[in-house]
Amino acid sequence: MRAIDVHNLRFDFDLTFAVVLMHSDGTIYHRYGGRGPDHANSHLSLASLAKLLEESLADHAAYDRNPAPPRAAEPMAAIDLPALQRRIKEGQQIECVHCHTVNDAEHEDAVLGNSWKKDDLYNYPDPARLGLTLDTARQNVVTAVATGSAAAAAGLRAGDEVAALGEQACVRTLSDVQWALHRAPFAATKLDVRYRRDGAEHAATLALPEAWKRCPPEEYAWRPFKWNLSPSSGFGGSELGRDAKKKLGLDENAFAFRVDYIVDWGKEAHRGNAAKAAGLRKGDVLVSFAGKSDFRSVPHFHAWVSLTRTAGEDTEFVVMRGKEQLALRYELPE
C-alpha cells in the first residue's frame, strides 16, 4: 500500500484480499472481496470474479460514452499518513505498509486530532445490518431477508437482485453493497435501493434506525481493527483443542484458551501489568471472563471485551492452572 493514494482509492482495509475495478480517471466501478466472520475466503470465488470482470467491461464501455471524472480529494500516499511519518521520524523502518496499517494510522491521527468517534469503528457494515443475506456466488442476489428488518419493511425478498444502493449507482458485488453502507451515516437515515425482480426494476427506501451500523462482536471479531479498541483484556493466546480440554477435565465443547502472551510491553503495558497484578501467568487457561464462557473463538473474546465492556469496571475472570481453578479479579484496563 506504500504508494497508494488512500484518499482516493478506498476499500475495506481490514481485508486480506480486495479487488477494485476502475477507470484511469479515478472513477471506481466496483469493489470485490469481503468476508464472513469465520473465513477470509468465504465471499471469494473464481466464478464470481470472472463474472464481475466481464460485466465491468460493459460498465467501462458505457462509462466511456459519458464520462464523469470524480472530484479527487487531496492525494495522500499511505506512507505519508502523519502517523506513519511520526514512526519513521522515531526511527522505525517501514518497508511495507499493510492494508490494515492504513486503518491503524488513520485511527491514530483521528484520535490525536480529536475527530475520532467511538462508532467510527463500524466500517463497511455487513448487509446483515439491513437484514439482507446475499449470495456469495452471485454476490448481489438476495438469498434471505430477516423478519422485521429494514430490508423486509422495504419489501425486498429472496431472489431479488440489488441493482443500486445509496451512493453505489451500479451494484454487482457484496463489496459494492458494503461500500454503499459504509458511505451512509451512522445516524438514522433513509437509503434508496433499486432491485430487479422478474425482469423488472423496482425502487424502495430503506429506513435505517439510529446506530444501525453497530454489529454483534461475533460479526466484528475477524477485523484486525479491533486491536485499536479499548478496553482490552491485556492478554491473549490460542484456543485449546479437544484433547487438551479433556486433560484439564473441561467439556470438549467448552471455550478455553491458553494464555500465550501478556501485553507487558510498549504503550499498552498497563493492560498486561494489570492482568499480572491480578495473578495471571502465562500458560494459564482462560475459561470465563466477566461471567461469559460461550465465546466462539479467541478473536470473538477480544471483540466482545472491547465492544461490550467498559474500561475500569470490576471484572472477574476464571483460569485453570493445571487442574486448579482460580478466580482472578481486576479493573478492566483502558
Binding site: M1, F17, S24, L53, H60, P224
Partner: protein
C-alpha cells in the same frame, strides 16, 4: 499483541481492453498504479487493481 504482520502486499494491475470479450485476454500486469493508470488511459482500458495482504 497477536497482531500478525508477516506479510507481503502485492499490488497487481491489469489493463483490460474494453471493446470485446475476445480482446479482454490482452492483459498487461503492472506493479505501479500510476504507470498502470497512464497505460490504461492510452489504451482506453479499465483497470483491475488487486490487493493481497498476508498477516
Amino acid at each position: 499483541m497477536s497482531r500478525t504482520s508477516i506479510a507481503v502486499v502485492a499490488v497487481l494491475l491489469a489493463a483490460l481492453p474494453a471493446q470485446s470479450n475476445e480482446q479482454a485476454s490482452e492483459i498487461t500486469w503492472q506493479t505501479d498504479l500510476g504507470a498502470a493508470r497512464k497505460l490504461a488511459a492510452e489504451k482506453k482500458a479499465p483497470l483491475l487493481v488487486v490487493f493481497r495482504c498476508e498477516r
